[in-house]
């Protein structure tokens, strides 16, 4: 079970870029794969997006729900709060 992977796939757009950077910064174990038109972020066990980190990258207030504008697919149990979005098994 411990080897199970969660993933998050976003469209490869300018809006996703700060989110992808934030995921990279906050999840040292993540593997980021750039595919045609989309970016796949994969990690064992869990993957977390912190609002604060994205805000730092994007330079303005950022609502966690803005994630869904660029979301293609995901797998894992979703834990979504005002301050973070987490996937885990």
């Amino acid at each position: 079970m411990s080897e199970k992977k969660v993933f998050l796939i976003l469209q490869d757009t300018e809006d996703s870029r700060p989110i992808i950077e934030a995921v990279g910064a906050d999840n040292p174990h993540v593997s980021i794969q750039r595919q045609p038109g989309m970016v796949r972020m994969e990690a064992t066990q869990s993957l977390r997006i912190n609002r604060e980190t994205v805000e730092e990258k994007v330079g303005r207030d950022w609502d966690v729900q803005e994630l869904h504008l660029n979301l293609v697919s995901l797998s894992g149990h979703v834990d979504e709060e005002d301050d973070y979005f987490e996937l885990h098994w």
Partner: protein, 366 residues
């Protein structure tokens, strides 16, 4: 027949432009902000020096006492380049327009009590001239400043200043039911009323500052850093408690704008101070000088808002508007613990504390 669609991944040879890759490292996509900012400033082939400043090259980092190894250390935390800036402002503009339409349709400004209208006329409307000065000053920084990171942000600032001046103008037009009497009276006050002269003299002195970084500190860091919290914070809050909710709606943009501008000015001060002790000392001196001067200049304005001399309530008809700004009469009563003195010292302390956190050494230049 079955068709098999397979996708083939093509690795892009470059992820961004070379000049961006040199700064952020190969193999990473650059952001639009980085692509529109890094190294855009022309640095060579200045064979025609300007006739009005022959000792400087066309774009010359030596036009300021601030010395930077890399002028792109002044990155804008808001990451404003043309598109991000216009999209952000368009969204805000929509909200402001709705607020204006609402206030106008319900006569929320024209129905305010006379004493509040007097404060709006005396304190708020003449500020359009200060905003215009802010536009001039930011255009001037954009002209002689060095490094796109700074000059693109100051040009956006210049445009914002015009926008804010226009909002103030519209508030006056609503208040006077589309007559320009309020604007004329405010201009007269700006030119002649004693309460405005220290501030007018200060911004006019800024017009002729030689060092553009000093101008940036004086205008964007200090003047805006004191004026906006004082007027759109303290004074508008006070009027709001007295019933002028509509005014708070119409000036909400200014308050939002200041919060956003603070992030940028803090980053500028921080980057300059990080670079060298000499820069930190220079920026600290400028900050100290302009904060002292401008907080003194703002006191009569705060005083007119918070501690006006109780006068016979004159009905503010179009004809006697001019009399509100008569030169001779004492405009307000002030003592060490009066509301206006407290308000000015509060915004001053808040500004200096924020700047000290960015690395200013204010105690050393006191």
């Amino acid at each position: 027949m079955a068709i098999e669609i397979s996708s083939k991944q093509i690795e892009p040879i470059r992820h961004t432009y070379d000049y961006v890759a040199r700064r952020i490292g190969e193999g990473r996509p650059g952001s639009r902000y980085q692509e529109a900012t890094f190294d855009i400033q022309p640095t060579a082939n200045f064979q025609y020096p300007s006739s009005y400043a022959p000792k400087y090259a066309l774009f010359d980092p030596a036009r300021t006492a601030i010395v930077m190894e890399d002028w792109y250390a002044f990155l804008d935390p808001r990451q404003y380049y043309y598109s991000a800036y216009t999209v952000a402002r368009a969204k805000q503009q929509e909200v402001v327009e709705k607020n204006f339409a609402f206030v106008e349709s319900k006569n929320l400004l024209t129905n305010l009590p006379d004493d509040i209208k007097t404060v709006i006329r005396k304190v708020l409307i003449p500020l359009r001239h200060v905003e215009w000065a802010g536009n001039m000053n930011n255009c001037s920084i954009t002209d002689v400043g060095y490094g796109t990171a700074i000059t693109q942000a100051t040009l956006f600032h210049a445009i914002d200043k015009l926008g804010i001046a226009q909002y103030l103008t519209r508030i006056s037009l609503i208040l006077e039911e589309n007559e320009e009497t309020g604007l004329d009276a405010a201009k007269q006050a700006w030119l002649e009323d004693e309460m405005w002269q220290p501030l007018r003299r200060a911004v006019e002195d800024m017009f002729v500052l030689d060092d553009w970084f000093e101008l940036l500190v004086a205008q964007n860091v200090v003047l805006d850093g004191l004026l906006y919290p004082l007027v759109y914070g303290e004074i508008v809050d006070d009027l709001m408690v007295r019933g002028a909710m509509s005014l708070a709606m119409l000036t909400e943009f200014m308050r939002e704008w200041q919060k956003e501008a603070e992030r940028w000015t803090s980053a500028i001060v921080k980057a300059a101070c990080l670079e060298s002790k000499a820069n930190a000392a220079q920026v600290s001196t400028w900050t100290r000088v302009w904060t002292d001067r401008l907080s003194d200049a703002l006191e009569p304005i705060a005083c007119a808002a918070f501690d006006p001399v109780p006068t016979q309530p004159a009905p503010a008809t179009k004809r006697n508007l001019g009399r509100l700004f008569s030169k001779s009469e004492d405009q307000c009563t002030r003592s060490v613990d009066s509301l206006s003195v407290t308000a000015v010292s509060q915004v001053r302390v808040a500004l200096l504390e924020r700047l000290q956190k960015q690395g200013l050494k204010l105690a050393e230049v006191a």
